[in-house]
Symmetry: none
Subunit: 156 residues, 2 copies
């Protein structure tokens, strides 16, 4: 017996057709449709729609809330994908972040202003935390920004 999560995954993917790179769903509605706990939808999203599988998730709570699943176009973001999923692992030093950003700027993927902003956000000054966690947090911040770059490229 195949797990329900596979069905849910397939269903969501079917909502993302050819042209559609983005879809909004309601967690409770989806859970109702599949007769499962709402948190299982969260589980599916967090295990199957991850950046390394080429997806990003955004959401809003409260009345009129939603979960948005965005398919990232791999073709345009090949290098970015590598950076997001391999190069930036669980942890990145300030120096590594610096060179990653610089490289993207040199390639024209980031403007000068954009790269300067990202340097600022990932600098040692900005992320002043205990050694044990700061490189992990930098990884998280940098990854989210790079995911944003990928999303933006998809639009253009």
């Amino acid at each position: 017996m195949k797990p329900l999560s596979d069905d849910i995954e397939a269903f969501i993917k079917s909502l993302l057709g050819e042209d559609q790179d983005q879809v909004d769903v309601q967690r409770n509605e989806l859970a109702g449709y599949f007769r499962c706990a709402p948190s299982q939808i969260t589980y599916v999203l967090s295990t199957r729609f991850t950046p390394d599988r080429g997806y990003a998730i955004e959401s809003r709570r409260g009345g009129g809330g939603f979960v948005r699943i965005v398919r990232l176009r791999k073709a345009q973001g090949d290098q970015l994908f590598y950076l997001i999923n391999q190069r930036i692992g669980a942890s990145v030093s300030a120096q590594d972040a610096f060179s990653i950003i610089q490289q993207l700027a040199e390639q024209g993927i980031l403007s000068d202003r954009e790269s300067a902003l990202m340097q600022a956000a990932t600098s040692a000054r900005a992320i002043n935390l205990p050694l044990a966690v700061k490189d992990a947090l930098r990884a998280s911040v940098l990854r989210e920004m790079l995911l944003q770059v990928v999303r933006d490229q998809k639009e253009a």
Copy 2:
């Protein structure tokens, strides 16, 4: 289902055209138009037309009363200075960061891409830390990025 508040927000913004930096509305009339409780208008004003987002509200009660929505256009240097030194203190919530960044984008100080990057860097997803420290770290990250914007403006 999109929340009504979004419609009301959009409607009010449409009243503020290009040249128009100020508009008066009547709370009850607006509530009648949108078929909602008058207090919802207050809700929209107090969540979407805040100083953080670059707006100010004045009002008068009684006969002939009104609510005036004013779009603030502060001198750019002063504005950033205020944000860095006063507004962003030791701690900033994700929502407040969002508002502040959005305001700067609306004023043309940040491009859409730049503001999206900053949103990503200060989002709850990027800064996933214990409650006790996450708003403090967000303040630090946001401040460093704004300082970078100032540096950039000095150059130009």
